[in-house]
């Protein structure tokens, strides 16, 4: 289980997380009056063979804020600040920037980049596995990287905030999608669903992109049950569960939940669908919840619906195999236990365009690791469905140093290849 890698130096996925250009060119002017700056923009348009078709406009910051910069048609000048934005319609952003940077009134011209929240780089160095150029630490730690199985033909439903169907890593993939959120398509306005789907069924390694999907050849069923604002009504979630069961999915991954109180009984409605799923040959896995603050000694009970006896609850561990400080614990009886643990810290996976990738943490990230491994087992042995598949997942888990309250049977493990 322990895997050594190069834990030194730059994180291996840094190139995939570098800034991405918007297609516009950002121009900084030398100290000139507004008229000279506008004329410089129009002069550059002529040099770019646009024949003066550009009409540069000086706008206030409020006016710029209301523009759709992704569909900018003509140059704009942020009045009083000596900054302009030019659409790269007459060439690539680099070509337009080169022409503009040579103008006597322009100090600098460079491609504009999308700006994203600054995250911590995913640095490995743990005991289970570390990220490398071939696969994420999570894919290695659950044994998927070494398994001969890919989930081929197995249907995994990811019930979440939708999915970016145009993500380049999923080009050509068969994806079934349905929205249960009023007034919203299956597009992912949050990013959470795309990240979770990427972990469960994202692609194998290609070029400098590592494998981050546990079951790269599974058939992804995307049920949008959380809105773009991240809000989920339980009837939408229940509807998505029923849809996935009726669609014959062998695995349903639910990285969602609401906090449960100590002593709280599981929801009758979720439990009925959990049982119905097992009877239909489907295992539902759910995130155990993120409400613990273990650094202060506080452990939260497993959330709903993971606290249903017929829904498999997944806790999160880090690359050292230690329970994540936020991961819920098995405090309540009758379904409130943690059943399995999976990678849930610094998990690199897909994110909606234009960002494409992001490393996130949470039991939401652990849950689709288990869903993906379940798909690998379902492919390996077609008789493993429903309760039999659940038992196999638990029986083959790798023990961890942490106790069963926090990690259940241990770290989920993919089916190994035939022994020689």
């Amino acid at each position: 289980m322990t895997e050594q890698g190069d834990g030194m130096g730059a994180p291996p996925f840094l190139d995939l997380m570098r800034p991405r250009p918007t297609g516009n060119v950002l121009v900084s002017f030398l100290p000139r009056d507004e008229g000279a700056q506008l004329r410089a923009l129009e002069r550059c348009a002529q040099r770019l063979a646009r024949g003066g078709a550009w009409r540069a406009r000086a706008l206030s910051s409020g006016e710029v804020g209301r523009l759709d910069l992704a569909a900018l048609a003509e140059p704009v000048l942020l009045a009083g600040y000596g900054v302009g934005l030019v659409p790269a319609t007459a060439g690539t952003a680099a070509q337009v920037a080169s022409v503009m940077a040579a103008d006597a009134d322009i100090e600098e011209a460079r491609p504009e980049f999308f700006m994203f929240p600054i995250g911590r780089p995913a640095v490995g160095g743990g005991d289970l596995a570390v990220d490398d150029a071939a696969r994420t630490w999570g894919v290695a730690a659950v044994g998927a990287a070494a398994s001969p199985f890919t989930g081929r033909g197995v249907r995994i439903a990811v019930l979440d905030s939708g999915f970016d169907a145009g993500h380049p890593d999923f080009e050509g993939r068969e994806i079934v999608a349905e929205s249960f959120v009023q007034g919203e398509t299956t597009a992912d306005g949050s990013g959470h669903g795309t990240h979770c789907a990427g972990t469960a069924a994202g692609p194998g390694a290609r070029g400098n992109r590592p494998r981050y999907g546990v079951a790269p050849e599974a058939v992804l069923h995307v049920g949008k049950v959380l809105s773009d604002a991240g809000r989920g009504f339980e009837f939408d979630i229940l509807s998505g569960m029923a849809w996935a069961i009726d669609a014959g999915c062998e695995v349903i991954s639910m990285s969602l939940g609401r906090p449960a109180q100590p002593g709280e009984a599981p929801s009758v409605q979720y439990e009925r669908l959990g049982r119905r799923a097992l009877e239909a040959g489907c295992v539902i896995v759910a995130a155990a919840g993120n409400d613990s603050a273990r650094r202060f000694g506080f452990i939260a009970p497993v959330a709903a619906p993971a606290n249903s006896p017929s829904i498999l609850a997944v806790g999160a561990v880090d690359a050292a195999g230690l329970v994540a400080p936020f991961s819920a614990g098995g405090l309540n009886p009758d379904g409130g236990e943690v059943d399995l643990a999976a990678p849930g810290v610094d998990v690199f996976s897909a994110f909606p365009r234009p960002q494409l990738y992001r490393a996130l943490q949470g039991t939401s990230m652990a849950c689709p690791h288990v869903a993906g491994v379940a798909a690998l087992w379902a492919e390996a042995e077609p008789s493993l469905r429903g309760a039999a598949l659940w038992r196999r997942l638990v029986e083959t888990a790798a023990p961890l140093r942490e106790g069963a309250r926090d990690v259940g049977a241990g770290l989920v493990q993919a089916p190994p290849g035939p022994t020689v």
Partner: protein, 90 residues
């Protein structure tokens, strides 16, 4: 297919999650009909879960509770995500 959003529910009304008991699970649709017969709007039924979404005020909730086979009536719970951020577990 999707239920109405909270914004669309009239002032003073609430979306209730009605749970049918085990003995009446097979007649969940009939219980939904009983709820409608009491003048309460039924928005969605998930028979396999014994779950009915009804929209009404507090008096409607009381009326639903009196129907034989109804186990529980609660305001519809929600599952919300925190903001997507590297430092916030999701």
């Amino acid at each position: 297919m999707a239920a109405r959003s909270v914004q669309e529910i009239a002032m003073g009304k609430v979306a209730y999650s009605v749970t049918v008991d085990d003995a009446h699970l097979a007649v969940t649709q009939a219980i939904a009909g009983e709820i409608r017969a009491r003048g309460v709007e039924v928005d969605r039924v998930i028979a396999a879960a014994g779950a009915i979404r009804a929209i009404g005020d507090a008096r409607a909730a009381e009326a639903i509770r009196r129907i034989e086979g109804v186990l529980a009536v609660t305001p519809e719970p929600r599952c919300d995500l925190p903001p997507i951020d590297e430092d916030i577990p999701v």
